[in-house]
Amino acid sequence: MLYSFLIYSAEGIHGRLSPEEQELALEQHRLLQKKLDERGDFATAKLMPVSNAVTLKSKTDQGHKTLITDGPFADTKEQFVGFYLADFPNLDEAIAMADMISTPYHSIEVRPVSWSGGTLSSFQDG
């Protein structure tokens, strides 16, 4: 079964940690990525802050015109900040893997994937 790990966090917190603490958190991710890589294919992404996004809303009442606004407007306390996508034999294993990256300032949703497609090329800080 394909599972996704959907990571939510208050966006500002990571940046307010000391560089050492930030490094510790990143190290957890590197370990997970190494593990996942050994097991087979996986996809992962870290998203830019929501201020960089635009939101499309189709207006059903006005001839289906699409309204494009900047960023998700509602200031939700936690934002979707990144995800993983990989194949696991069962939920327990998926949870065990997701736990590798848990921190007190993130929540991680482990959600089964009903369909996936496409390919991802990687983009990394050079």
Binding site: G12, I13, R16, S51, N52, K65, F73, K77, Y105, F123
Partner: protein
């Protein structure tokens, strides 16, 4: 007590909004800071035992408000007026009813704006923001500004006294006021970034803190006003520049852009800056920060200094000069022209700037470089000596300040006007330049005036671009209370209309006629055979508006501005 770093990080992240809310609640900066820190101490203990509350922000705010009220009660020696005020405030406010986080955007903006007091130096303005808004310690700030803690302590205390005398109204600002505040605060953040960036060799690593905090505050501002294109531009500009930080020092030496190892540039930051800039440019309301960011973006795109697209940079500086006709921009334009058309051409431009920039180090070093290239070695040498004789710190700051003194609608404009006058101008009211005050002139709030034109269409962004190309209009973002923005139309310094975000089936212009009482006028119109398209409705921060079709089918809007309603 163990200090959990992630709890501290969460407090830091919540702090700007919480402090802003507490200041608008208590009207007392010290009390707000004190009660917030008490709430954090309580949270540090409680959250570790019981886990995080559902809404940490609301939790901290409620606890801080209670703590603050306790302090007021216990401390009878406090200024009576303040005590009275805080009590008045609490008596009619449902205490546990903490607003949503995003309700505090005007509070945060006001707090940052208060820090930008015109009587304070740029350094003191930023030091104050770092202390109050971000919550850095005096030691950290002193270290970043390379002064003694004691000195910084005194400066902050003095600065706090200065702003305490200030009387910024606490009600929601109108559109223009909000736009001006954003502009002033953006400028302060830009100068804070520059303070960190213009460090000399030994201080780069120490002063980088200032760049990082400026970026943090710009992000905060953008999260509160996500549609402000100039805020996007400001953040993009900072990120493009800051991305080069890892390449700036090598063996304790400052490396110029020309010689930097571009592989060391932070690509993630550059990518983010590009995204922000692209997003901003879609709106079709260009401004100084967006153009400066675009220039920085051209540099970031070049794989090597030699591969820089100087023609594009030259074009962008020409555009920037239209927004900011200052000698500094011209100097930079000349540098780009030297690359595209040669040093002789560029030197001619510099000759015109001699008077204005005679105290500017870079002017003389640039001139020297041009002269050198043209083989005029003696004159080049003299120019270099002049450059070296100028100290790098204060004059540069002064120039930087002067660079922005010509920017329209800058801080002093609203400060110099009596408060009543500022408030007397309606939300969409035309702002008078002081020189106009002696002239008799119809204002927007004069009944009968055709004070405003409003546009709706299926595609606002495309429409904005069309009209910007066709008309002699400057388009600027007008920030709304909810964080969105409306492109406003400026003719010289006068605001004459705006583009509605609501899509319409087809493009339509509506003229807004000012009326004393819009309900009254709508009734009269109905009796006389008009079709009412929109019954009188209140638009927050603007006024009460009705739209009608006259008996012949012509559409017109009637408005009673908020400031006219008594």
């Amino acid at each position: 007590m163990p200090h959990h770093p992630w709890l501290q990080a969460r407090f830091s992240d919540i702090r700007p909004k919480a402090i802003a809310a507490l200041i608008s609640y208590f009207r007392d900066i010290d009390l707000a800071e004190e009660s917030f820190s008490l709430a954090c101490t309580k949270a540090l203990d409680g959250w570790q035992k019981q886990g995080l509350p559902d809404d940490p922000f609301a939790w901290l705010l409620t606890v801080a408000r209670n703590a603050g009220r306790d302090i007021i009660r216990k401390n009878k020696t406090r200024d009576d007026h303040k005590t009275q005020h805080a009590q008045d405030n609490t008596s009619h406010d449902a205490f546990d009813d903490v607003q949503e986080e995003n309700e505090f955007r005007d509070d945060v903006l006001r707090l940052l704006f208060i820090c930008c007091h015109p009587k304070l130096s740029i350094q003191d303005q930023s030091a104050l923001a770092l202390k109050i808004v971000i919550g850095l310690s005096v030691e950290e700030i002193a270290c970043a500004f390379l002064v003694k803690s004691k000195t910084m302590e005194q400066r902050i205390t003095r600065a706090k006294k200065t702003i305490a005398k200030d009387n910024i109204p606490f009600q929601s600002p109108d559109l223009i006021e909000r736009a001006e505040r954003l502009k002033t605060v953006s400028l302060m953040l830009y100068l804070l970034f520059n303070e960190g960036w213009s460090a000399s060799t030994g201080d780069v690593q120490i002063k980088v803190l200032l760049c990082e905090e400026a970026i943090y505050l710009a992000r905060l501002l953008l999260s509160l006003f996500p549609s402000q294109t100039e805020t996007m531009g400001l953040l993009a500009l900072m990120l493009f520049q800051h991305a080069r930080y890892p390449a700036r020092i090598e063996n304790d030496k400052l490396i110029l852009l020309k010689h930097q190892n571009r592989n060391l540039w932070n690509r993630t930051m550059i990518a983010e800056a590009h995204v922000l800039l692209e997003k901003a440019l879609r709106h079709g309301t260009p401004g100084s920060f967006q153009i400066q960011a675009a220039i920085a973006g051209v540099h970031s795109n070049a794989s090597a200094y030699e591969a820089t697209d100087w023609a594009e940079i030259e074009r962008l500086y020409a555009v920037l000069y239209q927004f900011e006709p200052t000698p500094i921009v011209k100097l930079n334009h000349a540098v780009a022209i030297a690359k595209t058309k040669g040093s002789a051409e560029a030197l001619k431009i510099l000759d015109d700037l001699d008077k204005e920039l005679q105290n500017y180090r870079w002017f003389h070093s640039t001139r020297a470089a041009f002269l050198f290239e043209l083989g005029q070695k003696d004159r080049a040498k003299t120019a270099y000596q002049t450059a070296l004789a100028l100290t790098p710190t204060e004059p540069e700051q002064a120039i930087l300040r002067e660079k922005f003194s010509n920017v329209k609608n800058n801080y002093p404009l609203c400060r110099n006007l009596p408060l009543s006058r500022v408030l007397g101008l309606s939300a969409l009211g035309r702002k008078h330049k002081p020189k106009d005050e002696t002239m008799s002139q119809t204002t927007m709030t004069t009944p009968g005036a055709a004070g405003w034109i409003g546009y709706s269409s299926p595609n606002r962004d495309e429409a904005v671009k069309f009209y910007r190309n066709v008309m002699e209009w400057t388009l600027t973002d007008l920030p709304m209370k909810d964080g969105s923005s409306v492109p406003g139309i400026l003719v010289e310094d006068e605001l004459i209309g705006g583009f509605s975000p609501e899509p319409a089936d087809k493009g339509v212009w509506t003229i807004y006629i000012t009326v004393k009482d819009v309900d009254d006028a709508t009734d009269k119109a109905r009796t006389a055979g008009a079709k009412i398209i929109r019954e009188p409705t209140d638009v927050s921060g603007v006024g009460r508006i009705a739209i009608i079709n006259d008996p012949h089918g012509a559409r017109i809007a009637m408005i009673t501005y908020e400031s006219m309603q008594k």
